[in-house]
Subunit: 314 residues, 2 copies
């Protein structure tokens, strides 16, 4: 059986694996993203190339079925000239063109990393078997992907699924996108940490993260708990808006912050319940994602294996 | 050439027409909706039947191509057991079944009235030629319909397109849906009138409507102007959320309140511009609807004429 070479490109690490037609992930490997100030785009490309060569070597005799990639946005789509916000060395980097030259004759398909996570959850995770699914990643940022009628929604330019920029607090905190009051501005890990500090939270380390905030909330720290509540309610409001517009069956929530469990899901369900009252909206099931760290790789592979549902472009 | 018998069922009036394959509306007629307290569902049905018989008689020799209907929600879909909020006599009324019995052998297709308006604008109005379009009706309520990838989005239960229940003011004014802070709660005509009264607006008549409010705003009344601004900003925020999630090309705004023109569109564009900063979102064109009063009839006809795009059910 041949495999898909699946790739996940983030600001901290590059991950690659072989993914079998049944979604099984083998030969996974990773490398730090060369992302220090001054690193140039070609250096990053060479690091990626080396990682892919190493992982692809594990494929053995049968040829690869294709290359599927999730990469931080924004990017042009489907051409995938990528300019990931957290990888300054790549601005308009022709990732698809480079990979096509490196793997001639193979399908090479690239999409937003959060979209790939959502695809993974739809294909084989918390959303499988449902036609109308929102997959979300709540972490350093808040991203997502949208499946309607059983297929990935790309929108006009491949940018559909930006649930992190649904507005939950008009005139609220400034967002990295340039707007204000987006879900991401409120609920991203660093945003929560900053808010908690303003409210008097005093973490042990200087560079506290969402992980430490979650742990303190679990220990009963009232400010850390209030931060989780703030994030959960913002998520519930954004999901209510999304299902009113798109009439969803499942919202699957993954990413680091979703590890907070009930601390996040209780206020989420509370706010959702206050704002989503119509019968069709109340039927939405809001569940934790199931695939964990490999969701993005599995989804990237599905761009090749299940193109009828996840790849409408050329 | 045969025609589609197109029907629009609202709380105030019943409208019907013959619609030609090119969208031309002929033989249009209307009747008041028997909607006094105590009217029963059968009486309303008989009034509808009489109107349809009268209009269909105008079809002449070639048989009808089908029956397309827009009706106030909620309803089950596609079975169309309808329970229009503003028609208490119909609760679970089997409208599709009745029309099928009345017009045997013809396709009978029913959808939400705001969805039909959006379809009309997509088929032949402000959204034509674009694949990713939100059509909106801002009037006594705020409704809409969503086209993605060139096709109507139905969602899990035919309820996609409820842009009126995207949340623009969490914890804001109570909404008819049971939630709070929905776009409809803020921007519907009666909501604006109530808000303006609270702020000291003193209309001439006791039963002032959005029309009078719009006229006063045009004459420079500051409170009436502030009400328009309030509605416009709420619309801009909801549309920003919608395009972040769905990556739209065109948002077409119709309904009575859209007649306010710049009084509504200026604050709308201002709020949209503040909240939609990413390049893909800024490309959205927000335009007035083009078809006016006939949009719903044209869209109802398109359920039959253009089923590849607008009718995915049986």
């Amino acid at each position: 059986m041949s495999a898909v070479l699946a790739v996940d490109i983030g600001g901290t690490k590059l991950a690659a694996a072989l993914v079998e037609p049944d979604g099984r992930v083998t030969a996974q490997d990773r490398a730090p993203t060369p992302n220090a100030p001054g690193v140039d785009g070609e250096e990053l490309w060479r690091a990626l190339e080396a990682l892919l060569a190493k992982v692809a070597a594990g494929a053995g005799e049968p040829p690869l079925a294709g290359v599927g990639v999730g990469c931080g946005g924004p990017m042009t789509w489907p051409a995938a000239e990528v300019s990931p916000l957290n990888i300054p060395a790549w601005r308009g980097f022709p990732l698809r063109e480079r990979l096509r030259a490196r793997y001639p004759g193979l399908p090479v398909r690239i999409h937003n990393d959060a979209v790939c996570v959502a695809i993974g959850e739809h294909w084989l995770g918390a959303g499988r078997g449902h036609d109308n699914v929102l997959g979300m990643v709540v972490s350093t940022g808040v991203g997502g992907g949208l499946m309607l009628g059983g297929r990935l929604v790309n929108g006009a330019s491949g940018n559909a699924g930006h649930i992190g920029h649904v507005i939950v607090e008009p005139g609220g905190p400034p967002c990295g996108c340039g707007g204000r009051g987006c879900l991401e501005a409120v609920a991203r890990g660093p945003g929560l940490v900053a808010w908690a500090r303003e409210q008097g939270w005093r973490p042990v380390g200087a560079d506290a993260t969402g992980v430490e905030l979650t742990e303190d909330a679990r220990r009963g720290d009232p400010v850390a708990g209030a931060a989780m509540r703030r994030a959960g309610r913002a998520l519930g409001i954004a999901i209510a808006s999304a299902t009113h517009l798109c009439d969803l069956e499942v919202a699957a929530i993954g990413g680091g912050l979703s590890q907070a469990g009930r601390l996040l899901f209780d206020p989420l369900e509370e706010a959702f319940g206050e704002h989503a009252r119509m019968e069709f909206a109340r039927r939405l099931r809001i569940v934790p994602a199931e695939l964990g760290q490999t969701a993005g790789l599995v989804g990237a592979a599905a761009l090749v294996y299940a193109q009828d549902r996840y790849w409408s472009a050329g």
